[in-house]
């Protein structure tokens, strides 16, 4: 069924994007921050950069990726529904 497929795909997008969200915010910025701090990137220790800069950029990108994916999915749902009606 088209609607079931739509929801299943949405859940799959959510699982992938939220895993990245958790890996960057809880992983890079908190759990592994000391390990990453041994790497220097320009004037930043890498873990510190993730905690105060990088994570926020990743968050913004994640939302817009989701917007893009869902807009595409919405369009395909509409066109499939129209095909069903024809």
């Amino acid at each position: 069924m088209v609607e079931k497929e739509y929801w299943r795909k949405n859940l799959r997008y959510l699982a992938v994007l939220l895993s990245i969200w958790a890996a960057v915010s809880f992983g890079c910025s908190i759990l592994f921050v000391n390990a990453l701090d041994t790497i220097q990137m320009a004037g930043f220790p890498l873990g510190f950069w993730f905690a105060q800069q990088g994570s926020i950029y990743v968050f913004v990108v994640l939302i817009f990726v989701y917007v893009f994916l869902m807009n595409r999915l919405d369009r395909s749902l509409v066109s499939q529904r129209n095909e069903d009606r024809v």
Partner: protein, 561 residues
């Protein structure tokens, strides 16, 4: 022109602008009043959401907090931005599709229960009031420092302004004023940051500047210098943390989930035209928020470096004007303990006794003066601080008035009132809420400041699981949702009250549950809420068939077939 003249000019101009917008956007229906008719373009809604979200705390206090906490300050940066990912992915589109006015609307309808609606209304009003009191206080502080009138008169002026555009314009007035306020506050935040970044590192973008080398010819990186200075003076290195990893993890999670569960943020996504617009609007909101939130840690590092290099061993007689100005407000205190006439500012690991106490809140406000920026920048910062406080206060007042007029009266006690009467009630409720908030601002009960930080934990432990489960499980019924919300909020509030009010002397890491401080306990409260709700709902009857249909409808965009 003197700094004082610039402040009057810029604050006056921005206030005139806000009132002008309010008069232009008067409203006539409850739909306009509650959700601006559902016709706000996503980009503008993103801007309004950003202004709504970024309060006096973000504008005035956050960089100061980070400045003193170093890496531990990241909990605020991560928590208050990461929540928008949850909002955009898990909440905003579905609540927009559901398409009523408030969060209690969703809870009440989805869980087919007046009790659930009532619990949600109480949570919403409680969260908003604790929050709004802090905003009015912020308005008072900015007025008293910059316009040199007392805090009470400052709060009265702030109340008057908010009253005009919230009561007249409702959500429509608030939305368009917030767009203007966003522009004012972000400009006011970025200008001094860019100036200082150019002076210290030669970079236009503070985000890159604080990871670059200093322009003093030494070639050392700014953060290296700051770590070195901090250690010399007996503080921890700036880029290292002091809090335990588990505590940082739980506090961050509580702030993230709390952000996604705050009613005044969620309601903004009802104001856009379509489901797709709700998603992109959350994205724009985060872009506008990120502009300030990625600048704040840079401001924090600049301010800290400036402060340490300026005041260390400076003879008190040569102290600059800003030092004396802030001393007179009592937010900066110097006591010459060793009697050498010079200022020793040192940390806990230093052999020399510390002689200087600096309130965290003055870091952003004093920054332009410390860096010797032109007078108009100081006026701009004052106008920006007021814009941040007023926009958040207005958004919160609207949620309170909607909760009373719509959720409590129309959907509860007096279902037969007409649209006109409901609108009138909403306006009266807004007016009363302004007065109560003003009272809290002038005469804050001691607990307000402490409670504001916990509003997040409470929102995380109550609303968030109920809404998520309502969307993502069809099986969730009213018994599960209500018992989950009640256990979540009782547990969280109980833990906070115990450690903050009953036995504050026990408030140390060894007594905390799993080493989680009261600031982070909302995360555990949320987990308990989820567990209880799921357990109860699977042992009680499934929700009626029309509710299961409703859930199916919420999940799909456009008209449900």
């Amino acid at each position: 022109m003197t700094a004082q003249a610039w402040i009057f000019l810029l604050v006056g101009l921005t206030f005139a602008l806000y009132i002008g917008i309010a008069v232009w956007s008067r409203v006539g229906s409850t739909g306009d009043f509650y959700i601006a008719g559902g016709r706000v373009p996503p980009l503008l809604n993103g801007m309004a959401t950003a202004a709504d979200w970024m309060s006096a705390a973000s504008f005035i206090s956050m960089a100061g907090l980070i400045s003193f906490m170093g890496r531990d300050g990241s909990v605020y940066l991560l928590g208050w931005t990461g929540g928008y990912v949850l909002l955009a992915l898990l909440l905003a589109p579905y609540l927009r599709k559901f398409g009523k006015y408030t969060v209690p609307d969703f809870v009440g309808d989805r869980y087919y229960s007046q009790t659930a609606r009532f619990v949600a209304v109480l949570c919403a009003i409680f969260v908003c009031f604790t929050y709004v009191a802090g905003q009015m206080r912020g308005v008072g502080i900015v007025f008293s420092r910059f316009l040199e009138i007392d805090v009470s008169s400052g709060v009265f002026i702030g109340m008057g302004i908010v009253f005009v555009y919230a009561v007249l314009g409702g959500m429509k007035g608030i939305t368009y004023t917030q767009v203007a306020q966003y522009c004012v506050l972000i400009f006011a935040y970025l200008v001094p940051a860019i100036f200082i970044s150019l002076m210290m590192t030669g970079h236009v973008f503070p985000q890159f500047g604080f990871g670059s080398a200093l322009t003093d010819g030494s070639g050392t990186f700014l953060l290296e210098r700051l770590d070195g200075l901090s250690r010399e003076l007996g503080f921890d290195a700036y880029t290292s943390g002091r809090k335990s990893t588990i505590d940082v993890l739980f506090i961050t999670a509580a702030l993230m989930v709390g952000t996604a569960g705050l009613p005044h943020v969620i309601v903004r996504f009802y104001t856009v035209p379509r489901v797709a617009a709700a998603r992109s609007s959350a994205g724009w909101a985060l872009v506008f928020i990120a502009l300030l939130y990625t600048t704040a840690p840079a401001v924090a590092a600049f301010a800290r470096t400036n402060l340490l290099t300026t005041v260390t061993n400076m003879p008190y007689s040569e102290a600059p004007d800003w030092f004396k100005n802030w001393e007179s407000t009592g937010l900066l205190v110097f006591e010459d303990k060793n009697g050498d006439g010079a200022i020793q500012y040192t940390g806990p690991d230093s052999a020399v006794e510390n002689e200087l106490i600096i309130d965290r809140d003055i870091m952003v406000l004093a920054n332009p003066e410390i860096a010797n920026l032109p007078n108009w920048v100081i006026g701009l910062v004052a106008a920006g601080g007021l814009a941040a406080a007023l926009s958040t206060a207005a958004g919160l007042l609207l949620v309170i008035s909607t909760s009373v007029a719509h959720d409590l009266l129309k959907k509860g006690l007096m279902p037969h009132i007409t649209d006109r009467q409901e609108l009138l009630t909403a306006r009266i409720a807004a007016a009363i809420a302004v007065c109560v908030a003003g009272y809290f601002g002038i005469d804050p009960p001691g607990f307000v400041a402490q409670v504001v930080a916990f509003a997040f934990g409470l929102a995380a432990a109550s609303f968030f699981p109920a809404i998520i489960l309502g969307i993502f499980t069809q099986r969730m019924n009213k018994y599960g949702a209500i018992s989950g919300m009640v256990t979540g909020i009782v547990f969280t509030a109980g833990y906070i009250v115990f450690f903050k009010f009953i036995s504050p002397d026990l408030n140390t890491a060894e007594h905390w549950l799993f080493g989680v401080s009261p600031e982070g306990i909302g995360t555990i409260g949320m987990m308990i809420n989820f567990a209880v709700a799921l357990a109860v709902s699977y042992t009680t009857p499934a929700p009626p068939i029309h509710i299961q249909r409703l859930v199916e409808g919420i999940r799909l965009p456009g008209k449900t077939p």
